[in-house]
Amino acid sequence: MRIANSLFERIADFLEEHAPFQYMNKADLLEIAKLIRIKFHEKDEIIFDAGKTRKRQFFIINKGSVNVTNPAASKRSLTDTRYVGDLLGVGHLFDPGGCYIHSATTAEDTILYSIPWEPFEKILPFYPDVARFLKANISLRSDLDLPTIAGVTGFSHTDPLSDTLVDRIEEITQLSEYARDRLVHCGPHETMQEVAFKMLNTKSEAIVVVNRDHYPLGIVTKTDMARAIQSGRSPAQATAEDFMSSPVITVKDNPTLGNCLRIMMKSGYQHICLTENGTDQSPTSGLISERDLMLYYGNNPMVIIRQIGEINRFEELSHMRHRADMLILHELRSAEGIEWFSDVVHDLNRAFVKKVIRLSMDSLREEGVYMPQASFCLIFAGAGGRRELFTRHAMDRGVMWLADHEKDHAYCEEYFSKLSELIHEGLLKCGWTKNLEGFTESNPKWCNPISAWKSYFEEWITEGKGVELFENLRWFDMLPADGYEKLAEETRGHIQQLIKDNPSFVKRLAQTVLENAPTSEDFEKFSPKGPKQYTHFFDLYGKVCMPLVNMARLLTFAHNLPFRNTTYERFKALAEADPKNRHIYDEAAEGFRISLFIVSRSGLRDQNPGNLVHPKELSSLEVQLAKSTFRNVLSLQNFIESQYC
């Protein structure tokens, strides 16, 4: 018999077009092709049945489509329709010898390629991406310790270029070594002349002043040197102690580049000292300057934040924000980076808002309208409050204030409402767009004395329900953006106490969240390969991100956990607090992360909110992860219903 190589090639060609086989080399695909059996199945034929022992093979659809359902699931479960190129029955890999959890039935006349596990498993160790992809295919099952989407997202194909910011922020060792090499120090009593010599000899721009135990006391920079000369004192007499800048910002040795960047962005300091335990009460081990970081990589958010500080026109701010968008889009390549970028984008948003507030106050002052004697705080709500606002869309915000004197109340009201209007106009000029309900901030309802804010929360927590409660949930994520942060913190404390005192709130909230939750029908419309009516844009933000946000918030309240900003952090904290359900929270955290990543990427790229995602634009892994997340959303809804309703 003559071997039909072109037949194997034909089969391998088909495999090569579909994940995860596209990650395998041709020689191995040809070997797999030799193992394959090809079978035609009529519509409504059962491929495998839930509860039956798993077959020793899995399937890839060559033609037609197959419905995968979980007959044991409660009312919220998903019929996942698989199309050409999709896999079936890969659970064996993680539960060998177990039973099928789902049933698979052909939705039309279908051709399946079956691939036996045993030889396939032998080559699997050589292909970690294939293993990860197969994991993403596994269904959520909370009573089984299956490796699921948690740990799957680190997929190399989403990150083909290794030289990304996210990669570089992990370059811990080199950075620390560099910082150690750069460390030049002096004693507090050394003269400025001696310090100048040291700086010249070592070509340093700054020198750390340390005590006898090597603890950092301060830093002498070139600017400090200029101050010393300007003072007219003799450099041979003035000491380092007299002119050093202190205190110093310290960080534990071996920081990540990302961490250093954030510290500098937040503090505005240009130098960071590395010390053994991270405080100024331990020996100094290195010095990192902003300049060093700039040299490490040129275009970075810190540069943009610095430049924002120097801008005096809204138009330039808009341009700067566009630059920031492009930078983030360029660097945001995988879901892992999303947390770091959450912080960076929050800092950027804050920097913009702060600048807009300053410019607005200036323009009021020019009109002779002056800031009253009062404290005020601009708060971010919703996605902004959760540090999850990547695009210039729907930045929910409010203003809370507290007059120093009761008599100024009326003026405060007038001033802050004018200021709010100007901030609103300023942000529009910077390219922020309204959400469907308009700007929250331009609505006078959200510019209030702190007492009014407290009353709102009292009303929502003691008796709020239904649509009204649902629409105001965004305010529960409030985060101070500028001004007197204590006002926001005080309000937050008030919220926590109210929730504690009103146990019925969690139940009402759970009902509200579930009333507005997505259904399995919503998810069944998501398919990159299905019939035409299913391949339109999918509201990933509204149907996945927001339900997860709402459920994470609810569960955080239910468990009385301290406030945490991001949804990811909230799920992670829940996993710690409620370890027996850890699996479901971990899955939700990962699912949220990948969904937010997809939405943010698409929004930054298309300069729109990014809520609507076309399944065809996603990689095959992302499609699998999205589908796993759908199941997750539904499971979490079932879980909440059983626990809190």
Binding site: R2, N5, L7, R10, R37, I38, F40
Partner: protein, 203 residues
């Protein structure tokens, strides 16, 4: 119909590429064949070969195989046809306009001194027409289109890499598995009704 005996039948779906359309004069350039047993294609039970031909013919533009290529990579006709004959054994033969392919194979067998094929054979085109008569399949839009492409389109079979002997027999194999399912629904033995056993040399 009683389908059970056919379930375990070894069907060999095959196709040949030739130097022309005159079976008495033209030669086989390549053969592609695959077996379907227990309603399943096993790619290891397949046959493929390239046959050395003495001249280039106008059909080169269809199958793209040149004389030089067959001289370099092919085997002699006698060896090819003997191996193919062994591969077939007592399988039931299937193909699109399969009579033509059987006739060219039979001529090659005769030139080699081997007995010609007497295996039962089914032409998928004839079967589809019979299924249409019995309203077991949707009728084709154009009843005068007898091409394999037309059939594959009608039954929505992927056509990647066709116009090679193996490409065509693979596509025909997919079609065959689908057609067998329709046959099960027939009241009479529809397969028997289109089966041919004495195609011979077409003379």
């Amino acid at each position: 119909m009683d389908f059970e005996p056919y379930r375990s039948t070894r069907w060999v779906v095959f196709d040949t590429e030739t130097t022309g359309t005159m079976p008495t004069r033209d030669r086989i350039v390549s053969i592609g064949a695959m077996a379907i047993e227990d309603m399943e294609i096993n790619p290891n039970d397949a046959f493929e070969c390239l046959v050395r031909v003495p001249f280039n013919s106008s059909s080169v533009v269809i199958h793209g195989i040149t004389k030089d290529e067959t001289q370099r990579e092919g085997i002699e006709e006698a060896e090819a046809i003997e191996q193919f004959n062994d591969y077939l054994g007592d399988a039931y033969l299937v193909g699109h306009h399969v009579a033509f392919d059987i006739i060219v194979v039979n001529h090659a067998l005769r030139r080699t001194g081997l007995p010609i094929l007497e295996n039962p054979a089914i032409d998928v085109m004839k079967l589809v027409m019979r299924l249409e008569e019995q309203k077991l399949v949707q009728p084709r839009e154009n009843p005068n289109d007898f091409s394999l492409d037309g059939l594959l389109d009608h039954f929505d079979i992927p056509k990647a890499g066709r116009h090679t002997a193996m490409g065509d027999s693979f596509a025909t194999g997919m079609l065959w598995m689908q057609l067998l399912r329709f046959c099960k629904k027939a009241e009479t033995d529809i397969l028997e009704s289109v089966m041919e056993t004495d195609i011979g040399l077409g003379e």
